[in-house]
């Protein structure tokens, strides 16, 4: 099994980011000067090497329109691009997402012979700042910009149906694994 990670982003402008960043900027003082958003898509493919995995991945990306819309979206494979400035990332997952299972079934219906075994999607928000954030700044960020508990606090995560955790984007890539990701 090979596990591939796609970080999908919009080619031109991500309006989720624009609105989220403007909203945060207007409400809280923050060292953050840029906000990026990626749809992280982790695919488990039943092949033995990376080259075969990429071969299996190609049609899913270029013509399925299930993982991304190639007319307006692109992706980074395995890692996020390096930034000159410091970055802090969070991963937001739906608590009871069934989208992955539905998407997996639609892909298998389109490509019945593909070796795809599972899909798991989440959202990565990347906060860019000039200097690495201190623990206190990270805590402030979580309180003020991330975890939504009232109209005045948080924005990016609704804890009633979403979970969030700090995310290190480049720590694992293209892992050979023993089990497919469970999609339901």
């Amino acid at each position: 099994m090979i596990q591939l990670r796609l970080y999908i982003y919009t080619k031109n402008i991500d309006l989720h980011c624009v609105s989220a960043f403007e909203s945060l900027k207007n409400r809280i003082p923050s060292p953050i000067h840029q906000l990026n958003r990626y749809r992280k898509c982790t695919l488990t493919i039943a092949v033995s090497n990376l080259a075969d995995a990429k071969t299996e991945l190609d049609p899913l990306i270029s013509s399925s329109y299930e993982l991304l819309n190639p007319n307006k979206e692109n992706y980074h494979l395995s890692t996020l691009p390096q930034t000159n400035d410091a970055s802090y990332c969070i991963e937001v997952c739906k608590q009871h997402s069934s989208d992955d299972y539905t998407r997996y079934n639609r892909l298998k219906a389109q490509y019945p012979t593909n070796s795809l075994q599972g899909i798991k999607q989440s959202i990565i928000w990347q906060f860019i700042s000039s200097n690495p954030l201190s623990k206190r700044e990270i805590q402030n960020l979580h309180d003020a910009a991330i975890i939504t508990t009232s109209r005045r606090t948080g924005l990016l995560v609704n804890p009633l149906f979403e979970t969030v955790q700090p995310y290190t984007p480049n720590h694992v890539m293209n892992d050979p694994i023993n089990k497919p990701i469970h999609t339901r």
Binding site: L15, H16, V18, S19, A20, S23, N26, R27, K94, H96, S97, S98, D99, Y101, T102, T148, T149, S150, R151, L155, L156, N158, L160, F161
Partner: protein, 264 residues
């Protein structure tokens, strides 16, 4: 003097004109208030409606960006002044993201959310259909006070994120509408509960009884002629009967708009 209703228009709202028509039909005057309306102008109204649509294109989450705007401070003030406030569809999502419903402790902490639709615990995407709802504890909110527990009312739904979920169990003394069959039976399965809402909830009021948030669209059923003949129940027959005498006969949501008129 006619009640003056402010209909709040965010970038991406798309049901404000129907809402305006419904308000005027029931003898109230209405003004479209843009999201940038100054506070002094804003408070010159007796009640407010946040209509349906896709405010800010549902960026981040439905209603999340709109809930952070300064105009929501004015909405909170109006709610605290006991003015009636109704949120429909996207307006319901904005009220939930603002913590104005159910607001059981009057702190505007977020106690419920409108999560993506589910059908039998699987993702269901956007739904557009007619459903039936019935009120529960209608006397607890000014918008539902004219309804009876036995009323079964047809109404259209049109949303992708309409599944009510609560931090704890839904607060019981609050007025709600619940999805039900055409005969009024509350059954927790698709398509009776079209989006997997907790306890079949389609709309819920606040603790104070002056704010109500509902996902279905009453402004699309304010006239009898808006009812499709294909749905179950007696409203299609009523529509036929009215058509022979009166083409602008009031629809099944007359009680909600009359209650608003009386309260505003």
């Amino acid at each position: 003097m006619a009640s003056k209703i402010g209909i709040i228009q965010f970038p991406g709202s798309n049901c404000e004109k129907e809402t305006l028509a419904a308000i005027q039909y029931y003898g109230m005057s209405a003004t479209l208030l843009r999201w940038t309306t100054p506070t002094t102008q804003f408070h010159d109204h007796d009640a407010y409606i946040i209509p349906g649509g896709f405010s800010f294109q549902d960026r981040v989450r439905a209603g999340a960006i709109a809930a952070k705007l300064p105009i929501m401070d004015d909405i909170v003030t109006a709610a605290q002044d006991n003015k009636p406030i109704l949120g429909i569809c996207n307006g319901c999502q904005i009220l939930a993201e603002s913590g104005l419903v159910p607001d059981t402790n009057a702190t505007q902490h977020i106690e419920m959310a409108l999560a993506p639709n589910q059908k039998e615990h699987h993702s269901h995407g956007f739904i557009c259909d007619w459903v039936f709802v019935k009120p529960s504890q209608p006397q607890q909110n000014i918008f539902t006070t004219l309804f009876d527990n036995t009323d079964v009312i047809p109404i259209p739904i049109n949303h992708g994120e309409g599944r009510f979920i609560f931090q704890s169990s839904p607060p019981s003394p609050l007025a709600t509408f619940q999805y039900c069959t055409a005969s009024g039976s509350i059954e927790d399965h698709y398509p009776i509960n079209p989006n997997g809402s907790t306890h079949n909830i389609a709309g819920i009021g606040n603790q104070n009884g002056n704010v109500f948030a509902m996902m279905p669209h009453p402004e699309r059923a304010y006239l009898c002629r808006q009812i499709p003949t294909s749905i179950a129940g007696d409203w299609p027959q009523k529509k036929h009967a009215f058509f022979s005498s009166e083409t602008h006969a009031p629809g099944p949501w007359e009680k909600l708009f009359i209650a608003l008129k009386e309260a505003a």
